[in-house]
């Protein structure tokens, strides 16, 4: 039996913040815990696209950050291809890349400069880097005349494609995609989704994609986890979830399970 791509046991996470009670003096603020993730168990086998669905504040990004070694869980263990995300963080990072909702780039630098930087960090830079960058950008349908323009001059859709291209360049075994199409116009959204479909078909890679777009999840994901309030409410294939919970769509299933839509807004992490 192969090692799971993701193995999570009893992982939970809460954030502390200082709050002033209504009517309390301005200087009096007490520490309060905001639970972002209740105890979670999850196993994802290598390959395929797994979707995590839920509104803002449901714990999706917290889970992604824990797997990306950016957050330490309060309890439990999380492993990526057998490596512990806390104790063996460096090994985990060699196998993981992340595409987040905010395309994290040096905005003054060009796609090429950002990508060669990424290639150097991941030890994949060499004499053929420029050729590989061009190949990947062509695969993603990005016009090649933007390759040396500052990122800030690119549209959000183009920036997000560069973010995906950058992750391809480093050849991760696990790709964490945190709301990769949020905020994109419909055309860019469709283009990014097409890229994901290509990725699923052509590459041996495990993809964990967070989204609150139910249609996107239905189209892309073989398996879906529905989260709300830091808990997993449902886990299965999209069609299976619809059948079990009697919804015509995943949106209907979510409403059936929570009694609410995906528009709920909650702050997720608050620093002291």
């Amino acid at each position: 039996m192969s090692i799971p791509a993701i193995e999570i046991q009893g992982v939970s996470k809460a954030f502390r913040r200082r709050e002033r009670e209504a009517g309390a003096p301005w200087w009096r603020r007490d520490w309060k815990d905001k639970v972002a993730l209740h105890e979670l168990d999850l196993i994802v086998q290598p390959g395929g696209v797994t979707g995590i669905l839920g509104p803002n504040g449901s714990g999706k990004s917290t889970l992604i950050r824990i797997l990306g070694t950016l957050l330490t869980p309060d309890t439990g263990t999380a492993r990526v291809f057998g490596w512990d995300v806390v104790k063996e963080a460096l090994q985990v990072r060699r196998h993981v890349n992340r595409v987040s909702v905010e395309a994290a780039f040096f905005k003054e630098l060009s796609p090429w400069e950002n990508m060669v930087y990424a290639a150097r960090l991941y030890g994949s830079a060499g004499s053929g880097t420029r050729r590989r960058v061009v190949e990947i950008l062509e695969l993603l349908g990005l016009p090649l005349d933007v390759i040396d323009q500052p990122m800030k001059q690119l549209s959000r859709g183009q920036q997000q494609k560069v973010a995906i291209a950058r992750s391809f360049l480093t050849a991760p075994s696990l790709l964490l995609m945190d709301e990769p199409t949020t905020g994109l116009d419909p055309r860019s959204k469709k283009e990014v989704q097409t890229v994901l479909e290509t990725l699923r078909a052509e590459r041996e890679i495990t993809v964990l994609v967070c989204t609150h777009d139910m249609n996107e999840a239905e189209a892309l994901c073989e398996r879906v986890l529905m989260m709300d309030g830091g808990r997993v409410l449902a886990d299965g294939r999209p069609a299976e979830l619809c059948r079990i919970h009697g919804g015509a769509t995943l949106e209907g299933v979510f409403m059936h399970l929570t009694g609410k839509t995906l528009e709920a807004e909650e702050p997720e992490e608050v620093a002291p």
Partner: protein, 278 residues
């Protein structure tokens, strides 16, 4: 560490330095502004020294030329050392400004490599900028370095970088500890070093507590050693005790900086501070 990993870390080290180079090329207008500011600052100190005589500073023992050299060397070295210090100390602040902190912290790179890559660029950039300022200062004030021992000065300069990197790593922790106030605290550290390190005056004029703080600052030894070589011609052999002190300080400060940084990174990951950019 295997050969592959070492090669990969070396590539990442160059990657950080190269990234900074790209960023500074794009922000070249700002660099022109900062260069102008550096030149103006050093020239102001030079003219201040030139004006000391007319302000009444005098007496038979007063050597105006020496005072001018003393102040100019202080201004030039402070310009260089503070620039290297702030560039390295801003390793995290840069990432926060650009919104790339999580991406960089997710990269399969040791933190030591990350910080040293930034320091590598800072040293090269600082040398280039200070060289231009030096050329202007020499041209305007006709500085006489005929008594200088360049080899001794370069040795002290090279050794001074070691503890400075340790101090910069310690300071770069501040934006990790406090996303909102960390950057300003870096300025406070820089200002305190200017006060106690004997940049423009000998330590002896300071109150005793500040003299003690000055004795703990590596910049004090760097400045005093450089002045001895540039003004009095102290050679490599004369500078060995100073070099020893600077290297010993570096041997303590760099591991301490890495340890404190590791602790701060763990804390930031526990409290969820990496995500914050404001």
């Amino acid at each position: 560490m295997t050969v592959t990993v070492r090669h990969s870390e070396m590539g990442a080290l160059l990657g950080f330095a190269e990234r900074q180079l790209y960023v500074y090329k794009r922000y070249w207008v700002w660099e022109v502004v900062w260069l102008f500011y550096s030149v103006v600052s050093v020239l102001s100190i030079g003219f201040l020294a030139s004006g000391l005589g007319t302000l009444g500073a005098g007496g038979e023992s007063f050597d105006l030329r020496k005072a001018q050299l003393y102040l100019l060397v202080g201004a030039l070295l402070w310009g260089y050392l503070s620039l290297v210090f702030m560039e390295a100390a801003y390793a995290i602040a840069w990432e926060r400004w650009e919104g790339t902190i999580e991406y960089t912290f997710m990269a399969p790179v040791r933190r030591m490599t990350h910080l040293m890559g930034i320091c590598l660029f800072a040293i090269g950039y600082g040398l280039a900028r200070t060289f231009i300022v030096l050329l202007v200062a020499v041209a305007i004030f006709n500085i006489d370095f005929s008594h200088a021992n360049v080899a001794g000065a370069l040795l002290v300069l090279a050794a001074s970088i070691v503890p400075l990197i340790g101090l910069a790593i310690l300071t770069s922790v501040l934006p990790l500890l406090s996303p909102q106030k960390g950057e300003q605290m870096s300025f406070a550290v820089q200002g305190f070093m200017l006060l106690v390190s004997g940049v423009y005056y000998p330590l002896s004029v300071l109150p005793m507590p500040l003299q003690v703080a000055g004795a703990a600052s590596p910049l004090t030894y760097a400045l005093s050693g450089m002045r001895r070589s540039l003004l009095e011609g102290a050679g490599v052999g004369d500078q060995l005790p100073t070099v020893g002190i600077l290297l010993a300080m570096g041997a303590a400060l760099i591991p301490a900086g890495i340890l404190v940084f590791s602790w701060a990174e763990r804390r930031a990951k526990r409290l969820g501070l990496l995500k914050r950019s404001g």
